[in-house]
Symmetry: C2
Subunit: 132 residues, 2 copies
DNA sequence: TTTAATATCTATAGCCACTATAGAGTCAAG
DNA sequence: CTTGACTCTATAGTGGCTATAGATATTAAA
């Protein structure tokens, strides 16, 4: 299989697959005589795994770590657990920040009737005076 | 006032102030004979304005646009309004994504009892099989 | 068989909003 | 006069890609 076909099967851009190779998330592929990358079907699973991890917004270095752990199936999975728990924490923090942001932004929209002059616009005024 | 003092008053890193200058968010400052930037107190307000906009996660180009609009106090403020509304939309989208993420991550943590072997860990299995 | 289209290759730059570093110059206090 | 704090420019790094240029390889049609 060449990279274009891998790309179609995984729905990942060709560039991204090559990028993952440079980052050692997948092994360097073999090459044809003409220097084209050749893959066997295993890589599809590996890339799908990476994709799912990215869906969860895990960083590439986290994913690399998880892959390393997968290579030691007898190790205790505590570290995997911690990674996911940390991710949950991060998501919670981000959600909190976004809730705060939303409150502030909606207060801003309330302070403008949309047909004022810029000089009188409540949004602009609030941005000047905001004490956060 | 030199840049260090501006930095202290605004609590923005010196680098950031210089960066904002390169991005034309603030005008190029005057210079001393020794080529040090000199500011008058106006810049404090400008930087505070930028800071508050950044608190709302507005992009630097949005902020630049808002600054341009502020220079035309007689224009209608519709565009300011749109910028903020777009920002609210973005925040809502991100919140939705994060809620989805949180659900998935918490389902993952539930699928692992933390003391399994990596080979049996429900988290790893879920990441392999996930069909999202 | 020639040619044209498509696929692949590497290397490099761009995105965003900074942050960090190196190496040189400026200035004030002791 | 030296020390130290401050400032200057230029450059590279962050993360996770994405886009481009220019070269080479392969495939398909004419
Ligand atoms: Zn998935
Ligand atoms: Zn308004
Ligand atoms: Zn603020
Ligand atoms: Zn587990």
């Amino acid at each position: 299989m060449k990279i274009g076909q891998v790309s179609k099967k995984t729905d990942l851009p060709v560039q991204t697959i090559r990028y993952y190779e440079t980052q050692n998330l997948i092994k360097s592929a073999g090459r044809t005589e003409g220097n084209f990358r050749v893959y066997d079907s295993k890589v599809i699973d590996q890339l799908e795994f990476i994709k799912h991890c990215r869906h969860l917004d895990l960083s590439l270095s986290d994913i690399k770590r998880i892959n390393e752990l997968r290579d030691n199936p007898n190790a205790v999975c505590e570290e995997v657990n911690e990674l996911i728990n940390d991710q949950v924490k991060m998501v919670k923090i981000k959600m909190k920040e976004l809730r705060h942001l939303k409150t502030q932004l909606e207060a801003l929209t309330d302070s403008c009737s949309n047909n004022q002059k810029v000089g009188d616009c409540g949004i602009i005024k609030s941005l000047q005076e905001c004490d956060c």
